[in-house]
């Protein structure tokens, strides 16, 4: 092979391989039983839409479906930030008939998570809103996924997608009992604050070309453009929740806001849970059902912030009794 030819061969085969493997992965990912694969593949129509982060996974779907005789779809994921949830919920409403109810755990308003955002790059081709959010929040992930299709599947989310290829994820719940050490340690817990006003950071970068140009500018100037905040909005998180609620209401869905249970000793250490409740109620105009202390049994918890299956059943029974799920 001629001296320089192999370089072109490597680049060409890499490009073709990237596109070919990316295509195969896209097809495989779309067939998965994982929730987001179903969401974007028109297989997620439901009567009740459930929204939260890892604490939202305790909306234990098999039991809810059994007691309500309704179809459910859970958007929740570990560390899910509200802005990402907002986009996923809006996509749901754009793709399906409006569900009767949407239940949202408002304690998910405690963080922003650009890392998880970048994991969702594999679904960006299916959603303009998701693509725009990715572009705003994670330029590396956005530009990388434009450049390499294989890179779209470089994430934990894709691994889960594979894991749930042929089995349902509806009973995905951390099913263990809180350790004795944690129970004993709960006596010494420090005060905990839910940070429901984390600052939003938006980068100025818009296109791959601009990104590279900015990097060049950084190289020769003393005023770096990378990571420059163009907007810092302490109410961003709550506004995202409000937007999500209004979007659902506009489609005719009844929205229920809840605070999911915490381990009692931990719940008592949260200093601003009532502030969060008041703020959300004032901004959304909806009551927040506070279940933070609804489950008392130690055996119902997996850790301080998550119920196990037994606890989830108790919690769901209480929501049912309060007509939150009906």
């Amino acid at each position: 092979m001629k001296n320089s030819l192999w370089i072109f061969a490597v680049l060409a085969i890499t490009f073709l391989g990237d596109r070919a493997i990316g295509y195969v992965m896209q097809q495989q990912a779309a067939d998965s039983q994982f929730r987001y694969a179903r969401l974007y593949d028109n297989r997620a129509e439901a009567d009740i839409l459930l929204v939260g982060n890892s604490r939202g996974l305790i909306f234990y779907q098999p039991y809810i479906e059994e007691v309500t005789q309704s179809e459910t779809f859970n958007v929740s994921y570990n560390g899910m930030p509200i802005d990402l949830a907002n986009v996923l919920v809006q996509d749901y409403f754009d793709l399906y008939p409006a569900p009767k109810k949407m239940v949202v755990d408002v304690t998910m308003c405690d963080r922003l998570n650009d890392q998880l955002m970048s994991d969702f790059k594999m679904y960006a081709p299916y959603s303009e809103k998701l693509s725009k959010l990715l572009k705003d929040k994670s330029d590396t992930a956005y530009n990388g996924s434009q450049f390499s299709h294989l890179f779209r599947y470089n994430s934990e989310l894709y691994q889960r997608n594979l894991f749930f290829q042929n089995k349902t994820d509806e009973d995905w719940l951390l099913d263990r009992v809180i350790s004795d050490g944690m129970v004993e340690g709960s006596a010494d817990l420090k005060d905990y604050t839910i940070d429901f006003q984390p600052t939003q950071k938006t980068k100025q970068v818009k296109t791959s070309f601009e990104y590279v140009t900015n990097q060049l500018v950084d190289m020769v100037t003393d005023s770096p453009t990378k990571g420059t905040d163009v907007e810092t909005n302490p109410e961003y998180v709550i506004n995202q929740l409000v937007e999500m609620v209004k979007y659902a209401q506009a489609k005719g869905t009844e929205v229920e806001l809840v605070i999911n249970p915490y381990f009692p000793a931990f719940a008592n250490k949260i200093v601003n849970i009532q502030d969060l409740k008041r703020t959300v109620e004032a901004k959304t105009g909806l009551p927040v059902n506070d279940y933070s202390l609804a489950v008392k049994e130690t055996a119902g918890f997996g850790d301080y912030q998550h119920l196990n299956k037994a606890g989830a059943r108790t919690f769901i029974d209480k929501m049912l009794a309060d007509n939150v799920l009906k």
Binding site: M1, A9, I13, D18, T140, F151, Y153, V212, M219
Partner: protein, 522 residues
Amino acid sequence: MIFNSIPFFIFIGIFLPLYFALRGKARLWLCLIASYFFYGWWDYRFLSLIVISTALDYLVGLQLGKTEEATARKRLMLLSMAVNLGFLAFFKYFNFFADSFADVLVSVGFEPSWHTLNIILPVGISFYTFQSMSYTIDVWKKEIPVEKNFLRFATFISFFPQLVAGPIVRASEFLPQFQSDRKFDWNRIISGSGQMLWGFFKKVAVADSLAPFVDQCFAAPDTFSSMHLFIGVLFYSFQIYCDFSGYSDIAIGLARMMGFDFPENFRTPYFSQDFSEFWKRWHITLSSWLGDYLYIPLGGNRNGSFGSIFFIGLFSVFAIGVTGWMWLIPAFLLIYAGGYYYLRQGKKQKAKTFTMMNLMVTMLLGGLWHGSSYVFILWGFLHGAYLIFQRILGPGFGKLLDSLHTPSWLRMGINVAIVFSLTSLAWVFFRSPDFETAMSVLSGIANLETFTFGSVIHKFVVLKGVFVVGILLMVEASDLKFNYQEVSLRKPIFRVVTYTLLLLLIAFMGTFDSDAFIYFQF
């Protein structure tokens, strides 16, 4: 500027064509300016340190070339040592020694009151200082000729591929390569780019993928199960290896493309069967530097020196003073008494005792080279102890395996497992911010009640980690018998396939948001 960043690719995309287009002095100027730009990208103010070190050692070298008088030559060499080590001492160790001295004073009843300074550690200072010092020492020992061309000398000190994290290239190996223009050579481009790709795979696909899991373990060890911490420690062993050797591979590959040969820095160290072998395979350029410029001057495996005895005494005092563990006093006294008794048993025993003492001093200082913290010294101490115990117990263990008729493959497996386990144990101290964290990690692992895979959080991260480490080990194990570089030079199809696979693996498994290489801090 870090290798795994877009600015670096832009930088190298501009630099390489210019480099091959220019010749002679112009090319040297380009290398020097590019190197200063590369370093100044991090903080241009600290370029002054490199410039001062360079100018001083250049002038000292010139003067050494002019005088034959032994005392004057020694003075010149000591001047260079004082300034270079002075920079290193101030920027890297000032606060550490000030705090340590205060701790010792407190332990003997004094109440010192002084403030430490907020000193920024210049990136790569330990690397270029050692490189610069090696030149002066070698000229002083008349082992290499004086470099009279300032441009060549300055480029040697600041050469950007290995400026901030090695390999430490000696003047005797590197300066002669500047004597003539390095020619463009396709074979060098092939093997250099291959090594760079492998380095990038190690860094972004292995090291940076394992990093978040490891960081979590060491940030709050009390909150994780035994199995979680155990996996965290194993992952760290591979993270630091891939982070550092990945950097070396990129540096060596880039230099090779430019026409320069750098010494090998890592040679599958986790396949070592004893600790002496480990140090011939791990950070080879530092090990050989410490061997030639510290271990041998201390007496090597023949003699002792006042320096060794002084340093071991100093270490003992600091260890007692800082920990406040009074039981260390009789323990140290017992060790010294044992050493003294053994020393007097004959010539052979004397040489053995001195060897162990010099090994320990070299490893303690090797630990201190990494950073101004007790955990690094403890890491060095553990490796010193491993080398000593290997000398004491190794022959007996070998005979035991012989008597059990252990097949060679099993013997190799046992030895590799022992060396890897003990090395990983030492890494716990190296990684921990303090002694307490290290002990929390180790006691957490010892709590075998939670040594179950079910107790591990982030299993998908573990799965990915196991996958990338598996690829690494597979390639390294096969590389022991199969020379990838040589085959990729001979067989273009093989080259195209392996390079393509690496690029695709990097895209699929890489982590692209990490900040820097671990060894930048040293």
